[in-house]
Amino acid sequence: MLAIRRKSLTTGALFGGVTLFLVAIGTFLVFSGKYVISGAVSLSDALLLMILAGAGFVAAAAGDDAGNAAANGAVSGATVGTFVAVFTLLARSVNLRQIFPNVSPELINLLSFGQEGVGGLMLMVILGATAGALGGLARLVPPRQMGIVLFAGAIVLVVGLLQNAIEDLVTLVDATILLSTGGVGYVIARSRGSELADSLGYGALAGLVVALLVAITLPLGGPEDNALIGEVMIWLQGNAIAVVIAIAVLGAVLGVIARVTGQAEFDEVLRGMGVPIPRPRREDDKTLNAILAGISGVLIGLVAGLVLLLLMAALIPMQREFASMITKSESDLLSAFWLGKEGVGRFVVMALLGAIVGALGGMLTVASGAVHSAGLSLVSTIMILGVLQSAGEVNVPVAIAIAGIVVFVQVAGRSTSMEAATRYNKMPEGKRRTVNLLGLIVAAFLLLMVPQVFNQYITSVLDLVGLYTMMGLGLNIVVGYAGLLDLGYVAFFAIGAYITGILTTPNLVTCGGVRPEAIDPAMIGQVCTGVTTFWVAWPVAMLAAALAGILLGIPVLRMRGDYLAIVTLGFGEIIRLIALSDTFADYLGGAQGITQIPSPMINLSALAGPLSSVPFLEGLAERLREPIVLTSANEIYYLILAGVLIAAFVSFRLSGSRLGRAWMAMREDEDVAQAMGINLVNVKLLAFTTGAAFSGIGGAVFGSWLHSIFPNSFTLLVSINILCLIIIGGMGSIPGVLIGAFVLIGLPEALREFADYRLLAFGALLVIMMLVKPAGLMPPPVRRLEAEAEAIAQEEEGA
């Protein structure tokens, strides 16, 4: 019995309204130029489908059967479609452009699917109904599975949007080598027990073997021979059926052998590799068991073969260019590294590499949940990037492959992660620490490698993310830990930047009475310098910002929270206006700002002399003779990385300290905290000052990175950006800040063509986050527990 609810209509109307808003601000037209899946799905298609399906999903109720869910969803989706169609009709007959400049003929054309008559409009309604019905049906999928699907979709979307920026990061060859060595290491280690030494040893051994195999398979001669793998792939595809059969047979044979020989360990190995060898029904009946094993082997083989076929079908464009791709990848660091060696050298390098990667893979089997999932994320990232690189764009097969990878890792990851965590928890304390230390070393290595692997653009985006992370960590102390809403955080950033600018740029005094503007910019470096260098300036900037924090803090910290927000906001504006004003232009540059801020410089030439006499280090000594100037994004990266790490370390240590606990107590209830003997003013001041100091360092780095600062770089929006990122990440959570910075700074930076909608999205995001998930994407543990407890309480209440 179909029951169409009125709610479906209202939901549709609501979604329709939102859609019309998006239409009127021109989103669809701008988005239509950006392909998520090349040649197939543009961002506007994706957005429209998401809205339509979303309308269907919301309209369908939890208890619906399939028919009802689909029908309500369809009604809701069709309502949205009708809204759009009616609007299109209206826009065709009346010129809305006078008021809504974005409603252009192109947009109308887009909305009517390029058709003149009512056909396009009908199509929109039908599309709405269909997508809505699908969305309604999605209601029937259990939440966890739905979550995985949505996550996979989100990843495809993100990869699709960023495809131009990330398509050349990891070659498929590299990915294959890394994953096969690490993966086999993992699988073998997993089957070989739960000791750390075992895991590492077996992992290393397996990785070494695989790496050597790869080294052997890879062509020994020049690039023209590199097509071997490609040949193999093409052959595999050509003989797919034979391959499937062969695999099936192999599976059967292996199963039978295993059962007959009674090699329990071999069984375990196969199980570890994911082959579900059935447990023997009865120990004594070896024949029956062997037959059963053989049958299951055939089945497994068939399935595996089919999966392989599907994968290959998905990767057809990839293998077409496989041969040329290997040549192309020569310039790529990793491949060049192991393909570039000749003779025995290659085997040594490959063996070493394989052993290390394999050992790391093995290590994951006994790693804690966080490390394990980090490892899995890394694995899936490398896999996705490899696939993307081979195809050169996100087309339909690649999108399917990406989704497949995500789903696979999500599904497989959960159980293996729990298994690893169990082992990890069984280990003694010392070994656990070793595992974590290894994880940290790998993370540090990866972080240090970033500028080498990524191109300048991505590194500069990462620099920006890092800078905001650093400041976010500072504000996190003020807002997240201490619960003081500071909307003028940019003021300290500006103070840091301006102090650095003033101290490091040439001025009238250091130039011997000559105005710096009068000197040829190219020559100025030789004529005069600033008062001091960056290395002296940044601590001064930090102290100045901290001092400003104290000066502002003392009077305002006695106020209630919301007053504080506005007063700090006013303070931020005051600083900007003062920097902008003509009154202080002689010192601060007015609207022209301060330019010609020199890059930080590391001068180690003193070491060059002693080092040059040491054997093997002559090259290094030669490099150190000239001062190292941190100019480009790649070099500044290390400065920012150090800043972020220190800031994160300080935040982390503070969070558990007496002071940190005092902050949190104060955040929860000022009166109670005071009754507990916490001196509110002092504690608040400390929070304010620490945050300000972080921001001051950020400003110092910012100024010397960009070489120039302008008052308009320090608007309220910077404060709001930083606030947003800690709110999105989860107030009080250190990883949350990083996530927030990536989502709010990295993503928009990579999507510059949609910069117009950035602030709109920020605003909407803030409201939605506060309404839906006030604790943020990655809340600190206490908040997460609170949220869970609340959810349980609500459920019980509901029941």
Binding site: F21, A24, I25, G26, T27, I99, F100, P101, N102, V479, G483, L485, L487, L551, I554, P555, V556, R558, M559, G561, D562, Y563, A565, I566, V567, L569, G570, F571, E573, I574, L577, I578, L580, S581, D582, T583, V681, I720, L723, C724, I727, D756, Y757, L759, L760, F762, G763, A764, L765, L766, V767, M769, M770, L771, P774
Partner: protein
């Protein structure tokens, strides 16, 4: 004992006090200094006062929205600035459409009313949606959560308008709403195409092409000044009395520390008294400076002549198409030592190669360059040029006749103007458009006085030499004069030696002598109307409109909250939501009403704002919103009269303070925010005090 007070004095207090005193000292020193130096004139003050009140009215209207919501929900509706913006923005489309269709010109009042209603309705819709979607679900959340939501909503609304309607600035059309032509008849004119005569349109209330120029007579200035001083003194005395009573009651130790402690407890009144004292001292101090600064140009004389206040104006006005004869040429003449006056009787007597002194710029320098074969030496002031003549550094000087006469008289130099003007600059009597008939009388009289020697007598008296030739032949052939009883003549007694004030207060001068001689000859009476010392104020009428409209709306709101049932419900909900709900009040509905009221006021404020700034952008709500919040806090948040007071106060401070303190206008926002910080430090509950229920504070 005092020591105990010292011991309880924390570093924080010391710093706060230090900052406060430093700022107070800065304000007092700068203000007094600027007033004393005459850099801040009274006319500037009045102009800024009026602008400040208008701006303050806008702030107050927006601030009411903040205060109403805060009073009930205890949240800062950060997006209120965008509510203000949204109404104005949509209002723009309506008024632009009406302008295009011509409706605006035909039914201006109706059209403007419609725009107001549309803007208010839009703001209300936006605010109600905001409340429903963003705020209602968070009513029980911790305080930071709704505030962050509000910031997000503010950003979203701003960007949504940008996305929907584009980034450009929209310009409100010119709205000409003429009122009261009979009262302000001289303010705006149009030429009637049929008769060719000028028709008074009246005061263009909204976007006058010309600003209204108000002239405050010297007495008017004295009265206004007296009112300001009296108000300041009254407030100071009132506070002083209250303080002294407190002083007696509180058993203050009569040691410096004890008094300091007492003063710290009564900071607001003490500071207010100080400010009032500065105001009074400043007003008295700036008096002489003002009188000097208020030297009048002739434009107002002409203005009032146009308006029919005078029949004629005699103020050294030169005109090419005067109806009356020129009675004097004020062009530049040669000035020589008295000893040389015999040998040099005009420009032609200068030997080639003579040196001639002149002040740079102006007609005199032009004249000097016309002289053949002389070397021109320029000086910065007439006095220096004349001294050079006196000391023999140069042979002669060139200066406009009245200026030359005035300087010679003032410095008692032994110099005389000689010869005819080098460049002619004849001046004549200006007549009212309605009194064409006077031309004949005056011309006759002038002929007569020239003929009978009265003219030469007056000339000798005031310029010390025989008169130069006039451009007409004196003809006293005495036709009878037409019958004229009284001529009202406007003069500016600040133009010695043409017209001047004697120390006794009587007017005197060449023009006065001349006119009296003419009156005697022609037999009419004269009434002199002197405008010296009047203050000229250029004010856009819209400022008055804004001010009046704001006050009316505020009174309406006040009435609503105090005397209607809904208002009572609002107050009850502000006091205690739970109890109010128990009493049968629909809390949700009351909250919506609150948002509606605040938004309607903001929408109206938006249109008023746009009518005088004329510009609408998606970011226009931010700064006024922030200022209005500041105003609400200044007055004491949650307090309706407080928000009104805070708005006007902030508007005034913003308008007056930069010029008064000699701070660049760029930094006026710094002053407002600085004021906010100061108020929050020293009186966190605002000037009029917060109105909050106990639980919340």
């Amino acid at each position: 004992m005092g020591l105990r007070f010292l011991r309880r004095l924390t570093l924080t207090n010391v710093i706060i006090w230090g900052m406060g005193l430093a700022m107070l000292a800065f304000v007092v020193i700068r203000a007094v200094g600027n007033l004393a130096s005459g850099a801040y004139g009274f006319d500037t003050f009045i102009r800024q006062l009026i602008f400040g009140l208008a701006q303050g009215g806008i702030y107050a209207l927006i601030a009411l929205g903040y205060t109403l919501v805060y009073g009930i929900l205890f949240m800062i509706n950060f997006a209120h600035g965008e509510v203000f913006m949204s109404g104005t923005y949509i209002g723009y489309f309506v008024i632009a459409a009406m302008d295009e269709s011509g409706f605006l010109e035909e039914h201006t009042l109706l059209a403007v009313t419609v725009v107001f209603l549309v803007a208010m309705a839009t703001s209300v819709i936006v605010a109600v949606l905001l409340e429903r979607i963003a705020y209602r679900p968070l009513r029980k959340a911790p305080r930071l959560v709704p505030l962050i939501t509000a910031i997000g909503a503010s950003l979203f609304l701003q960007q949504a308008f940008r996305g929907l309607f584009g980034t450009g600035t929209k310009n409100y059309p010119n709205v000409h709403l003429y009122v009261l032509p009979q009262v302000f008849g001289d303010l705006e004119w149009a030429v009637d195409p049929e008769t060719g005569r000028r028709v008074a349109l009246g005061l263009d209330l909204i976007s006058g092409r010309y600003p209204v120029t108000l002239w405050i007579s010297p007495w008017g200035a004295v009265i206004i000044r007296a009112v300001v001083i009296a108000a300041a003194v009254a407030l100071a005395v009132y506070l002083g009395l209250r303080l002294s009573r407190k002083f007696k009651e509180s058993e203050v130790e009569l040691s410096p520390l004890g008094i300091l402690k007492w003063a710290s407890n009564n900071l607001t009144p003490v500071i207010t008294i100080l400010i009032m004292a500065v105001l009074v001292v400043g007003q008295l101090w700036s008096l002489p400076g003002d009188l000097q600064a208020a030297q009048m140009g002739d434009e107002w004389l002409i203005h009032r002549l146009d308006g029919g206040d005078f029949d004629a104006v005699m103020a050294g006005i030169s005109s090419d198409d005067a109806q009356t004869l020129s009675y004097l040429d004020v062009g530049p003449v040669l000035v020589v030592r008295e000893d040389d006056a015999e040998t040099i009787t005009g420009p032609d007597d200068l030997r080639p190669g003579s040196r001639v002194a002149v002040t740079n710029g102006g007609l005199a320098e032009e004249a000097a360059h016309r002289l053949d074969g002389v070397e021109v030496v320029t000086f910065h002031s007439t006095k220096d040029a004349f001294l050079a003549v006196l000391y023999g550094e140069v042979d002669a000087a060139v200066e406009e006749l009245p200026v030359a006469a005035r300087e010679i008289e003032y410095w008692r130099m032994e110099l005389v103007p000689v010869g005819a003007p080098i460049i002619e600059r004849p001046v004549a009597i200006a007549l009212s458009p309605n009194r064409d008939d006077l031309a004949e009388v005056l011309n006759h009289a002038l002929h007569a006085v020239v003929a009978n020697g009265e003219y030469a007598k007056a000339y000798r008296r005031w310029f010390g030499v025989e008169p130069a030739e006039l451009p007409f032949e004196p003809d006293a052939s005495g036709e009878s004069y037409p019958d004229v009883d009284l001529i009202v003549i406007g003069i500016n007694a600040n133009q010695p030696p043409l017209t001047t004030l004697r120390e006794t207060g009587d007017i005197d001068g060449f023009e006065v002598d001349l006119m009296e001689a003419m009156a005697e000859e022609a037999g009419f009476e004269i009434r002199w109307v002197d405008v010296t010392g009047s203050i000229k104020l250029i004010i856009r009428p819209i400022y008055f409109l804004v001010f009046v409209a704001a006050v009316l709306m505020m009174l309406g709101l006040f009435w609503f909250v105090q005397y209607t049932k809904a208002g009572k419900a609002m107050r009850a909900v502000a006091e205690d939501k739970e109890v109010a709900a128990l009493m049968g009040i629909d809390v949700d509905r009351v909250i919506v009403t609150t948002f509606v009221l605040g938004a309607a006021l903001a929408g109206a404020a938006g249109v008023l704002f746009a009518l005088y700034t004329r510009q609408v952008t998606h970011t226009m709500g931010f700064i006024p919103g922030l200022k209005a919040f500041t105003a609400a806090v200044l007055g004491g948040i949650g307090n309706i009269p407080g928000a009104m007071f805070g708005g006007f106060f902030l508007g005034l401070v913003e308008s007056v303070a930069p010029a008064l303190l000699g701070i660049a206008p760029q930094l006026k926002d710094v002053i407002s925010f600085g004021l906010l910080v100061m108020v929050l430090i020293f009186r966190p509950t605002g000037i009029l005090g917060e109105v909050l229920s106990e639980k919340k504070a």
